[in-house]
Every structure is written in structure tokens, then in C-alpha cells.
């Protein structure tokens, strides 16, 4: 934790030519925008798929105009078939978890701001960085290709449980090439993430500017660093898992397939595999993945909040240690996804306790946020509204975790909409609020223009109320026992729940539509927005010490020297109630 290196480890020449500048760029800022752009495409695709699902659930026989053009087999005459519903579900989950929640808050914002916040002129390995994005893009295209093949997209859910995902097309539509493309896509995605994680770690360890000790790194830099450590281990397990799945599918191996299975009247030619092996490998990645999605958002939101509150957190150190504890505990809890899987019931107990224990650092983080708000002078902006909304969602999604962490209650709630409500709130909506907050906050730096605040606030209000209208009722459905992943509700006990489902669907259409306000604001502001000053929010960290947008080498050839902790607010500085991290002026209390 001592003094960091003084000189950047490398210097590369300014990019020349359109391709090098904007396409195959080595500049971490361009790569970050590419990741963000990819996440934006993926999130609108994922949202469209969720609209189709919500539409089909409440109006199962109604036609979706034009859908038969995309898939004549999946939606003959525009009516979604049960198997196509499962395809929509699988693709929605995969796009959102991998290409949105991993890409935007971590690879996107992290790529842009981690090097700047530590005073580096680029990532440690710019070529690796470019490669990670292009690898991820290939993974995206491979996945999307599944929509256009005769077999149809995969139908085994984003969790791809074996043997359903492993035995091939005998098990049903979408489980032929569609499923193989899924496994190839995720394997390739893992490679991109592994390269990215290594790069983040090396950059944080080696490229910190003079005076940038570990504890002087902003909270979001810490979050990206911790996330990259988690990512390095998590994706290193998912990658071989996907390769083994592909071998089972294509080379006749039996890692995940036992003997004696009769599928479509055919005795499968496999023996000796274990479906639980897939579940262990998948969730060994899958649970840390939740933190890969949420920790960067925790960091971003803390960063935004501090600036908006005009005072530091009660303790940035405690917040950082809590994030570390969450990261560490995230390795010991994967089995809580498998309480009813048939693994040894004693293991369930062992997995239950660390899961419940995670509540402690998560509560500390929440209390630090709440306690820090006390006595603050909160500037209400689109960015801070989404940050405050994030806290609310983090709490709502977190408390439902109490239930699912207990094996005895999970017996009843497992695989119901309660689970869907839980993870959408804590991992989906909360992380996306973090992305929104980061976007409204950093857009001026990234583009040199301000976003429209009125549109931003309108976007917030509809999204905040809308997401509660969608996801809170999911919990009620789960309490009644409404099963997830059903393409229609034919059971007697689910029929009375249809009005609630209709309410959710309508809320989803409205909330989804409001995202176009955001998209419009983003694109319009990019070209027509008010020019942004270097430091529009009177913030203290290094990204605000350089022009908006930053030059290609970030600091214009200078080597910043760091004098202070990242959040000197509520003090008397030459520019107001704050002192920048690289300002040599002495601190006097405000």
C-alpha cells in the first residue's frame, strides 16, 4: 500500500486514421464507449424481448405484428409458441446478465475512468484492452446469430442446466445449434472478460500516479478493482464449464450426462456424467457474477452521492472493506442456488450461513450511505436521483435475500416469481440505476456536452415508480407459489393471479417506453447538448481535473501528482467547498 510508480509504464503515440481512432482503437476511452454502446444495443434488445414475454403471458393468443418475419416457426402468424417463449427468456437473461450488467458498469465505465482516476494515461495493456472488446463483440454476434438459424434460439434459460442443455436437439426445439451457439458465445465472452479483468488489475497495481496510494483511490476505482479480482476467478471457471458443455454436445463426451436417459424415445448414448457438476461450475461463476454486476454500481453510486452530498462518506475505508468482504464471501455461497437440487442437505446449511453473513457488509454499506446523508446538502440532479433510487432498490432487493438465503423457506419459494423479483431488483434494476447515475454524472466528461436535466428527471420518475410497479408484485406472485419460466399459466391456482400479471405487463410497457426518453437525451445531448465545463459538478477526483472530453493521453503529457484523499468536500478551497485531489493547496476546514 505504499507509494505508487511515478512514471506511466508505457507511452503510445497518438492514434492516426479513422480506423485506429474510432474502430480498432487502443484508447481506453474509445474502448469504454464501445463497451457502453454494445451494452446499450443489448439492453434495448433485452428489453424488447421482455416486452414480448410480458405480452405473451397476459395475451397468449394475441398476435405480435411482424414477429413471424423474425421467426416463422417460433411465432407462426405472430403468435408466440411455448418454445419461442423459452427462447425469449433465455436470450433476455443472457443478453442482460452478460452483455449489459457486466459490460456497462464494469467494462464500460471502468475502462473509461479507472485509468483516469488513478492518473494513468491508458490501461496497462492497450492491445489486450482492444482485444477484450472485440472478443466480446464476437460473443455478442454469435449469440444473436441464434435468432436467425433454422433450429431457433436456445431454450434452456440463461443457466443452461444440463442435461437439457447438453444432450442436443432430441430434448426439444432450440437445443440444437441454438444451444451450441449459446455455449460458444459465453465461452468467447469469458475470454474477453478474463483479458479485461487482468488488465484492470495490472493497471490498478502498476499505473497509479505519484501520491495515489491505494487508500487515495476513489471508491469506484476500488469497486472496479475488486470486481476485476472477482471476474478473473469467476470467468476462469465458466470458460472451462462451457467448453465441457460443448464437448458433451459435439464430441460425445459425458461430463454432465449420466447413463440411462431416454429422450424423445431414444436411449441416449452417454454414461457417467453428473448434471450437478454443471450446476456447481455454473453457480461458482453465477453467484460472484451478481457482485460483478452490483459492486461497480455500488462504487459509482457512492462516488456520485459524495459529490452530490458535498461531504465525504462517514468512512470510505469501511465502505471499501465491506465491498472486499462481499467479494470474498461471494465465493462461499454459490450453493444457495442449489438448495433443492439434491446436493447433500448438510452442504445447504454450510452455504446458508455465509449467505446470511453477506447481509452484514451489505447492511454496513447501506447504513454508511444513510448515515452520510445525515447533515448533507444533497444537490438533486438526474445523477443523484438515480443514486438515491439505487439505495432504495438495493434495500428492496436485499431484504428478499433474507428469505431465499434460508433453505427451509427456499423449499417453498424456490423457482417462483419471488426469486425473479429478488434478483431483478438487486442485480438488474439496482445495477441499471447505477449505470444511469454514472451516465448522467460522467456524460459531460465523456462527450464534452451536458445532458438535458429535465428529460433526465422525467426519465428517473417514470423509471423509479415503474420498476417498483413491475418488480414488487413479483414477490407477491411468488408468495402464492407462481412458478417462473412458464410460458402460460394453466394451473388452477395461478388463474386468479392474472390481474396482477396484467398490471405488471402494463407497467413494463410504460417503464420500457420511458427508456426511449433516455436514449433520445443521450443521442441529442451528444450532438446538441450544452458544452460542458471541465468540472460541472465541482467534484474532486482526477477525471474532473482534465478537459471535457479528455485528450487522447488523458493528462496532456503531464504526470499528475496526488496530494489528498479523493473526497475533500465541506472544506475551504480556492474554488469553493472542495479541494481537488491533485491540488497542492492546504486543507482548512469549511
Amino acid at each position: 500500500m505504499e507509494e505508487a510508480s511515478v512514471q506511466p509504464a508505457h507511452v503510445h503515440a497518438p492514434p492516426e486514421g479513422f480506423l485506429r481512432k474510432h474502430v480498432f482503437s487502443l484508447d481506453h476511452k474509445v474502448i469504454a464507449k464501445q463497451y457502453y454502446g454494445l451494452a446499450l444495443v443489448a439492453v434495448f434488445m433485452g428489453m424488447a424481448l421482455s416486452w414480448l414475454m410480458r405480452f405473451h403471458l397476459v395475451w397468449p393468443t394475441a398476435k405480435v405484428p411482424g414477429l413471424d418475419i423474425l421467426s416463422s416457426a417460433g411465432a407462426p402468424g405472430g403468435i408466440i409458441t411455448p418454445e419461442y417463449y423459452l427462447s425469449l427468456l433465455t436470450m433476455h437473461g443472457t443478453l442482460m446478465v452478460f452483455f449489459v450488467l457486466t459490460n456497462a458498469p464494469f467494462a464500460g465505465f471502468g475502462n473509461y475512468f479507472l485509468p483516469i482516476q488513478i492518473g494513468a494515461e491508458d490501461m496497462a495493456f492497450p492491445r489486450f484492452n482492444m482485444m477484450s472488446f472485440w472478443t466480446t463483440l464476437v460473443a455478442f454476434f454469435v449469440l444473436v446469430l441464434a435468432f436467425f438459424i433454422p433450429d431457433g434460439p436456445p431454450t434452456s434459460g440463461w443457466t443452461a442446466y444440463a442435461p437439457l442443455s447438453a444432450v442436443g436437439k432430441d430434448a426439444g426445439p432450440g437445443l440444437g445449434w441454438g444451444q451450441s451457439l449459446w455455449a460458444i458465445s459465453i465461452a468467447v465472452f469469458c475470454i474477453g472478460q478474463l483479458l479485461g479483468s487482468l488488465n484492470f488489475i495490472a493497471t490498478t497495481l502498476d499505473l497509479r500516479a505519484k501520491g495515489m496510494t491505494f487508500m487515495r483511490m476513489p471508491i469506484c476505482t476500488w469497486a472496479w478493482f475488486i470486481t476485476s479480482c472477482i471476474g478473473l476467478l469467476a470467468f476462469a471457471v465458466l470458460l472451462p464449464a462451457c467448453l465441457l458443455l460443448l464437448l458433451d454436445r459435439m464430441a460425445g463426451t459425458s461430463f454432465f450426462i449420466p447413463s440411462g436417459l431416454v429422450i424423445s424415445d431414444r436411449l441416449q448414448n452417454h454414461a457417467g456424467g453428473s448434471p450437478l457438476l454443471w450446476q456447481h461450475l455454473f453457480w461458482f461463476f453465477g453467484h460472484p457474477e451478481v457482485y460483478i454486476a452490483i459492486l461497480p454500481a455500488v462504487g459509482i453510486v457512492s462516488h456520485v452521492l459524495i459529490t452530490s452530498m458535498r461531504k465525504p462518506m462517514l468512512s470510505a475505508k469501511v465502505l471499501i472493506y465491506s465491498m472486499m468482504s462481499i467479494g470474498f464471501l461471494s465465493w462461499m455461497v454459490w450453493g444457495h442456488h442449489m438448495f433443492v437440487s439434491g446436493m447433500n442437505p448438510f452442504s445447504s446449511l454450510l452455504f446458508s450461513f455465509p449467505t446470511l453473513t453477506i447481509t452484514i457488509p451489505a447492511t454496513i454499506i447501506t447504513l454508511i450511505w444513510l448515515g452520510s446523508l445525515y447533515g448533507a446538502n444533497i444537490q438533486i440532479t438526474s445523477a443523484s436521483l438515480f443514486a438515491l433510487g439505487f439505495i432504495s432498490m438495493f434495500v428492496s432487493g436485499g431484504v428478499s435475500g433474507f428469505f431465499l438465503a434460508q433453505p427451509s423457506i427456499d423449499i417453498y419459494l424456490h423457482a417462483t416469481y419471488f426469486v425473479v423479483g429478488h434478483f431483478h431488483m438487486v442485480m438488474g434494476v439496482a445495477a441499471i440505476f447505477g449505470i444511469f447515475s454514472g451516465t448522467y454524472f460522467w456524460f459531460p466528461k465523456m462527450s464534452g456536452r451536458m445532458m438535458n436535466e429535465t428529460l433526465g428527471k422525467l426519465h428517473f420518475w417514470i423509471t423509479f415508480v415503474g420498476t417498483y410497479c413491475i418488480f414488487m408484485p413479483f414477490h407477491y406472485l411468488g408468495l402464492v407459489g407462481n412458478i417462473r419460466r412458464y410460458s402460460s399459466f394453466v394451473n388452477d391456482f395461478m388463474a386468479p393471479l392474472m390481474p396482477l400479471h396484467k398490471f405488471i405487463s402494463i407497467a413494463a410497457f410504460i417503464t420500457g417506453a420511458a427508456q426511449f426518453i433516455f436514449l433520445y437525451n443521450l443521442i441529442h445531448s451528444r450532438f446538441r447538448g450544452k458544452p460542458a465545463p471541465d468540472n460541472p459538478w465541482n467534484a474532486t477526483s482526477l477525471e474532473w481535473s482534465i478537459p471535457s472530453p479528455p485528450p487522447w493521453d488523458n493528462f496532456g503529457g503531464k504526470h499528475p501528482v496526488i496530494y489528498h484523499d479523493p473526497y475533500q468536500y465541506g472544506v475551504k478551497g480556492s474554488k469553493g467547498d472542495f479541494v481537488m485531489q491533485d491540488s497542492p493547496e492546504q486543507l482548512t476546514s469549511g
Binding site: 442446466y161 436417459l261 429422450i263 448434471p275 448515515g371 427451509s408 423457506i409 417498483y468
Partner: protein
Amino acid sequence: MGKLFAVVLTIIALVSAYPIVVHKYVQPVDISTHGHAIDEQLSDTMAEAGFAFLGAQLLLAFFVWKFSNRKDGSKVTHLPGGAKLMVATAFILVGTEVLALGVLGQKAWADVYFTAPKPDAMQVQVQAGQFAFYFRYPGADGKFAPLHPDKIDEGNGNYFGLDPANDVEARDDIVTAELAIPINREIHLLMHAKDVGHSFYVRELRIQQDFVPGLDLSLHFTATKTGKYEIVCTQLCGLGHYNMKAYLNVLAQEDFDKWLKEKASEQ
């Protein structure tokens, strides 16, 4: 606008809690001997989670109401007690409450998983396959005949792959599409997956257990109320997953005996 946030958040928190407080959406009546422990655990957890949910949301709303866009010149202040108070609160409140829940919850879990079925429990085998459940009773000899996957022939009603021509024990096995059981008698359910993963879920029994191909899993429970209840599949198993269901029919002992006799004669 901070005040608007506070008002909207307060309304959201109260409206969200309302259906829970008035028990609008609840689990069905429990019909098992172990279920009450799960229900108690659920309601204890609901109380604690509800307290945490409302407490945190209302505190957030209150602070944003009080501390947003304050007039120029108002100095920021800090919470007395600072981070230490927060850490201590988290450890004491959450630590003890949540871990206590964990410890108490083990009892409910143990009722289902750590106690062995009684020796006189009635054994029934359930097979899950795309997209139906089938049940097998051992018949007069009290023995289940071995399964031969290569003999499965659904067209001819041989769902399990029995071989009565060669296996004497298979000749009296009773195969049904409905799970009928006698009331107040412990049932030992032997679970078998024919093709891919499935799950066995009866809400009223507070039972859920996956079928894992290649693993011999079992469940045991005692039903305490007669009636028909839906058995549904909760593990994604393919295009017909949503429609994979069967009925659990809890009968008085004499009705069950009659039913089993009828089914035996139909084989």
C-alpha cells in the same frame, strides 16, 4: 425535488407493504406435518425483512426530505457516532437477527431432510419425464421391479421401462398418472428422472425437490388433509414445462385402499 423524492418513496414503501400486512397474497393452507415450521420461519422472516425494508426506506426518505437542496451557507454536518455506530448497528441488529433466523430455520430444514422416513412409511416411486409425472406403487409383493430404460415404450403405456415378461416383481407394480396417498400416513417418495432435470413441487405440502438424472433422490412427508392438490414441475425442462403437472389426491385410508385396488385391476 428532494421533497418529492421523499414523498414518492414513502408512498412506494407503504403501498408495497400493504398487501403483505393485509395478507392479500399468501401461501395456501398447509397440509403437511412439517409445513408449519416453514410457515413460521417465513412469517418471522417477513416481520424482520419488513422492519428492515420500511425502516431503511423511510429513513432514506426522511434524510432526503431534510437534507436536500438546503439554502446556501448551511454547513454540512456529520452524524454523531459516525461509521463506528453504523458498523456496530449492522453487526448487532443484522448479525444477531439474521444469524438467529439461520439457526432457527435449521429445524424446519431438518424436519424435511435430516430425519429418515419411518420404516413403515409407504413407498411410492415418481418418475418425471418430458412433460408428465408417473407414479408407481410396488403392488402386493411390496417390491419395485428394476427399471430398464431401453424398454420404455410410452405408446404402449410402459412409462417406466418395466419388463414383466422377465421380472416377476414387475408383474404386480401399479403405474398411475395421479399420486393418491392415504391421509396421516408417511409417504416415502422415490424420485427418478427419465430424461432431463425436473422438479416436484406441491405448494400445500411445502415440498420442493429437483429430479436430477442419474441421482436417486427421495422425499418424505405426511399429508394431514384430504383433497386434490396440484403437483407442478419447477425446473425448466423444455417446451412443455409450463404444462407439466399431475394431481396429488389425499384420501381417507379406506378410499385409498379402494383406489389402489381399482388401479391394480386396470394394469
